[in-house]
C-alpha cells in the first residue's frame, strides 16, 4: 500500500535528473513555461470543477425572494442561514439523517464482516467451485440494479419487511457483499502463505487465523472499503424508495428530493439541504482520505 503517493508535480520534467550546471537557458525557460502552463490550465480546470459547488454554497445562503426576483445565476443580494434550519426542521432532514445513519453504519459493518469471512474462505482455502463462486459474485455486480427493483419490492413484502429499515439494510448488504468479497479476495490472496502456515503449526484453527491474522493484515483494504461503502450506501436513493414508503423512515437522499415541490422548488432550501446531506460523506472522506486513494488501486498490483 506504499505506492500511493501523489505523482510528480510537473508534467514532462524527468524526476531525479537535474539540468546541467552550465545551464541551457532556453531549456530552463521552456521548462518554466511548461510548468506555468500546467499550473494555469490545472488551476482553471479545478476552478471550473469547483464552480457548481460554490454555486450551491452561495445559493444555500440566499433568500427565496432574492432568487425568485433575480434568478439563480445573479449576484447574491441577500444572506441568510435560515435555509439550513428550514431544511433541517420543516424539510425533515434532521430525522432523515438519523435514518440514514441507522441504515449506513450497521450495513457497512455487517457487509464487511460477511464479505471478509467469505473472502477469507475463498482465498485461503482450496474450496471446491471457488472460481465459480467468485465469478457468480462478480457477474451479479454487472447486472443493472434497475431490473431487480420490482422483484425486491415484492419480495420484501412477502417476507414482511417492506417499509422497514431492516429491508433496506438487507438489500444493501445483499448487493454490496459480492463486490466487497471480490476486492477483499484479491487483497487476501496476496498475503504470504508462510504467515498462515506458521499459525497452523502453532495450533491456530481457521477461526483464529481469520480473526487474529488475516483480518488485522487486511486492515488497509477494510478501511478503504468501509470508506467507499459508507459513501455508496449513504448516497443511495434507488433502494430506499423501492423498499420504503413512509416518510418518517426515509433516508436523507429521499428527503432531499422531497424538498422539491410538485411545481415550484425552493432552490435555496434545496441547496442548504444538499450541503447538510453531503456533510457526513465529506467528513468520512476527509477522515479516510488516505485509504480512499489506496482503495482505488486495491488489487491492482498482485
Amino acid at each position: 500500500m506504499a505506492a500511493t503517493q501523489a505523482p510528480t508535480r510537473t508534467v514532462g520534467a524527468p524526476t531525479g535528473t537535474r539540468p546541467p550546471a552550465d545551464g541551457n537557458a532556453r531549456a530552463v525557460r521552456a521548462r518554466r513555461a511548461r510548468t506555468a502552463g500546467f499550473h494555469l490550465t490545472a488551476g482553471l480546470l479545478s476552478l471550473l470543477w469547483l464552480l457548481p459547488i460554490a454555486l450551491v454554497l452561495v445559493t444555500s445562503t440566499r433568500s427565496f425572494d432574492d432568487i425568485a426576483a433575480h434568478g439563480m445565476g445573479s449576484w447574491p443580494r441577500s444572506f441568510t442561514l435560515a435555509n439550513f434550519g428550514q431544511a433541517w426542521n420543516e424539510g425533515g432532514q434532521g430525522h432523515a439523517m438519523v435514518n440514514s445513519l441507522i441504515v449506513t453504519v450497521p450495513t457497512v459493518l455487517l457487509s464487511l464482516l460477511l464479505a471478509s469471512m467469505a473472502a477469507f474462505g475463498l482465498s485461503r482455502y482450496d474450496l471446491p467451485l471457488r472460481r465459480t463462486l467468485l465469478l457468480v459474485m462478480l457477474s451479479g455486480n454487472l447486472l443493472p440494479p434497475q431490473i431487480l427493483l420490482i422483484p425486491v419490492s415484492k419480495l420484501s413484502e412477502v417476507i414482511g419487511i417492506y417499509d422497514q429499515l431492516d429491508a433496506l439494510i438487507g438489500v444493501q448488504v445483499g448487493f454490496g457483499v459480492g463486490f466487497y468479497v471480490f476486492v477483499l479476495h484479491g487483497f487476501m490472496r496476496a498475503i504470504p502463505a508462510e504467515i498462515q502456515e506458521a499459525a497452523v503449526i502453532d495450533g491456530a484453527g481457521p477461526w483464529q487465523i481469520y480473526s487474529r491474522i488475516i483480518l488485522p493484515l487486511a486492515r488497509p483494504a477494510l478501511a478503504a472499503l468501509s470508506a467507499l461503502s459508507f459513501t455508496w450506501i449513504f448516497n443511495d436513493l434507488l433502494w430506499a424508495i423501492t423498499v420504503l414508503r413512509t416518510d418518517s423512515k426515509m433516508p436523507i437522499t429521499a428527503s432531499l428530493i422531497g424538498l422539491q415541490g410538485q411545481y415550484v422548488s425552493l432552490w435555496n432550501v434545496i441547496a442548504a439541504g444538499s450541503v447538510i446531506a453531503a456533510a457526513p460523506t465529506v467528513a468520512v472522506f476527509l477522515r479516510f482520505q488516505r485509504h480512499f486513494v489506496a482503495g482505488l488501486n486495491l488489487g491492482a498490483v498482485k
Partner: protein, 432 residues
C-alpha cells in the same frame, strides 16, 4: 498460493462461528427498527401525500391535525416526494397492504386505476350533504366511465391564463386582448418595445408547460369535446383539425422568447417578473415562484377567442383524493374524505397553502385577492372545463406531447413529420 489442509472439526467450528456472528449481527439490526406497521385494521387511516414542498406539506399537516382533534377516526399523514410518488403510485395501489388514501388527480389518470378495480367506491359519499352540492362538471369528472361509480373527492383546483405584470403593461401602454387578432397585434407592439412578448419555460425538465398551448389552441379552434376525444385516441394527431391548431400556433411563434425552450418554467417566471418577457401562459402555481412583493402586481387574461362559434372552455385542473379498494378501514377513509369535502376543511387548507388555489365546495371562501376572485369568475363562466394534457389522457402520453411540441417550437417547418411521429408514438400507447 498454497492450499491449506484443514481438519473437519476446525472447519465446522469455523462455520459455526460464522453463522453465530451473522445471526448475532442480524439480531442487533432486527430489533433496531421494529415499529408496528400502520396498516393494521385498528390503526389510523394512512394518507399518502405527494405535497412535498414545505408550504403545501404544512398546510396538509394542519388539516390532518384539525381532523384528528375533531375526535372519532384518526388519520396519519405520510408525505413522499412528488416525483417518487408519481413513480411508486402503481406499486402502492397493487401492494398487499396499501396505504388507505392518496392525493391524486381525477379524470383519466384515476380511470386507469378504476379499470383495474383498485379504487374504493365513494358513490355513497357523493350523496352526502357537501358533495351532493358540487357542480355537475365536478361530479362527471369524478365518475368512472367504465364502472359508473364515483371514486374521487376533489378539494381544490387552479386555472391557467396569460399572466403578466400590471406595472409593465402600464409602462408599455398596452391592454389585455380578447381576440386572437388583438393578441397578435399586442405581440407586434411589444416586439417594437424590445421585449420578448411571450415567455415559455419548456426546457430543463418542464417541457410539459408547452402542452398548455396545445390544449388551449385545440379547445379554442376545435372545441373541448374534440380535444378530449383526440386525447382518448378517437382521432388522429394527423387530422386536418390538428394541423389547423399548429397553423395558429405558427402565427404566434415569432413572438416567443427565443430562450423559452432552454429555461425551466421557474426561470421563465423570473424573466417575466424582470420584464424580459411580457406574458406567459401558465397555471397559478407559478405564483409560488414569485417573491411576495410582486404578487399584488400580477394579473392575467383569458386565452383569446379564435373561433367565436366554439364554446369557451377553460383549463382548470382539479386536485383531490382517492382511496384504495383494498383498505382495511373503509369507514374511516370515507369519514376522512367527507371531512376534506367540507367548506370548513377547504378554507383551512387554502388559508395555509400558497393561496392561489380555488375550493371545489360552492360555499367555501377563497382567499379573496383580486387575482383569485377574477380566476374563480373565469372558471364559473366557462362552458366546459378541461384538466390538462396528461390529466385528460395519461402520464404515458405526456412524453409524446413533450417531444412533439418542443420539436415544433424549435423547427416549426417540420410540422408534418412531427405530427406523423406523434401519432405513431401515441398509437403505441393507446394500443397497450
Amino acid at each position: 498460493m498454497t492450499p491449506f489442509t484443514t481438519d473437519r472439526r476446525n472447519f465446522l467450528a469455523g462455520v459455526g462461528a460464522v453463522g453465530a456472528g451473522a445471526l448475532l449481527s442480524g439480531c442487533v439490526t432486527q430489533t433496531s427498527s421494529n415499529s408496528p406497521t400502520s396498516q393494521s385494521s385498528s390503526g389510523p387511516v394512512t394518507l399518502q401525500s405527494n405535497l412535498s414542498s414545505p408550504q403545501a406539506k404544512t398546510a396538509l399537516e394542519t388539516l390532518i391535525a384539525a381532523y384528528n382533534k375533531k375526535g372519532g377516526s384518526r388519520a396519519q399523514l405520510n408525505t413522499v416526494a412528488s416525483e417518487t410518488f408519481r413513480t411508486q403510485l402503481p406499486t402502492y395501489l397493487t401492494s398487499a397492504n396499501p396505504p388507505d388514501a392518496y392525493t391524486w388527480y381525477p379524470g383519466s389518470v384515476a380511470e386507469a386505476y378504476a379499470k383495474q378495480g383498485l379504487l374504493l367506491d365513494l358513490s355513497d359519499l357523493w350523496q352526502g350533504p357537501d358533495l351532493s352540492r358540487y357542480s355537475a362538471a365536478m361530479r362527471d369528472l369524478c365518475t368512472s366511465p367504465s364502472t359508473g361509480k364515483k371514486d374521487f373527492v376533489p378539494t381544490d383546483y387552479y386555472w391557467w391564463g396569460f399572466f403578466y405584470r400590471k406595472s409593465n403593461f402600464a409602462k408599455w401602454g398596452v391592454q389585455e386582448p380578447t381576440t386572437w387578432n388583438e393578441f397578435l397585434a399586442l405581440c407586434q407592439t411589444l416586439k417594437t418595445k424590445n421585449v420578448a412578448p411571450i415567455g415559455i419555460g419548456a426546457g430543463s425538465g418542464t417541457a410539459w408547460v408547452a402542452s398548455a398551448w396545445f390544449d388551449y389552441l385545440n379547445i379554442r379552434v376545435n372545441g373541448a369535446t374534440y380535444h378530449r376525444e383526440l386525447l382518448a385516441g378517437k382521432h388522429s394527431f394527423n387530422d386536418p383539425q390538428v394541423h389547423k391548431v399548429f397553423d395558429y400556433w405558427g402565427q404566434a411563434l415569432p413572438f416567443f422568447d427565443p430562450n423559452g425552450t432552454a429555461l425551466a418554467f421557474q426561470d421563465a417566471t423570473t424573466s417575466l417578473l424582470e420584464g424580459r418577457t411580457a406574458m406567459m401562459l401558465i397555471g397559478t402555481f407559478f405564483a409560488d415562484a414569485a417573491p411576495k412583493d410582486a404578487l399584488g402586481d400580477l394579473d392575467f387574461f383569458r386565452f383569446p377567442v379564435i373561433d367565436p362559434k366554439v364554446p369557451m372552455a377553460e383549463e382548470a385542473p382539479a386536485d383531490g383524493f382517492f382511496a384504495s379498494s383494498r383498505t382495511a378501514h373503509a369507514a374511516g377513509v370515507k369519514d376522512l374524505l367527507a371531512y376534506f369535502a367540507t367548506a370548513e376543511a377547504q378554507e383551512l387548507y387554502i388559508k395555509n397553502s400558497s393561496g392561489t388555489v380555488l375550493p371545489t365546495h360552492p360555499d367555501a371562501k377563497d382567499n379573496g385577492t383580486p387575482l383569485v376572485v377574477k380566476g374563480r369568475k373565469l372558471i364559473a363562466s366557462a362552458a366546459q372545463v378541461t384538466q390538462f394534457f396528461n390529466r385528460d389522457s395519461s402520464d404515458a402520453l405526456q412524453p409524446t406531447a413533450d417531444t412533439a411540441l418542443v420539436h415544433f417550437l424549435s423547427k416549426p417547418k417540420e410540422v408534418n413529420s412531427i405530427l406523423t411521429t406523434w401519432q405513431r408514438d401515441a398509437q403505441q400507447i393507446w394500443s397497450k
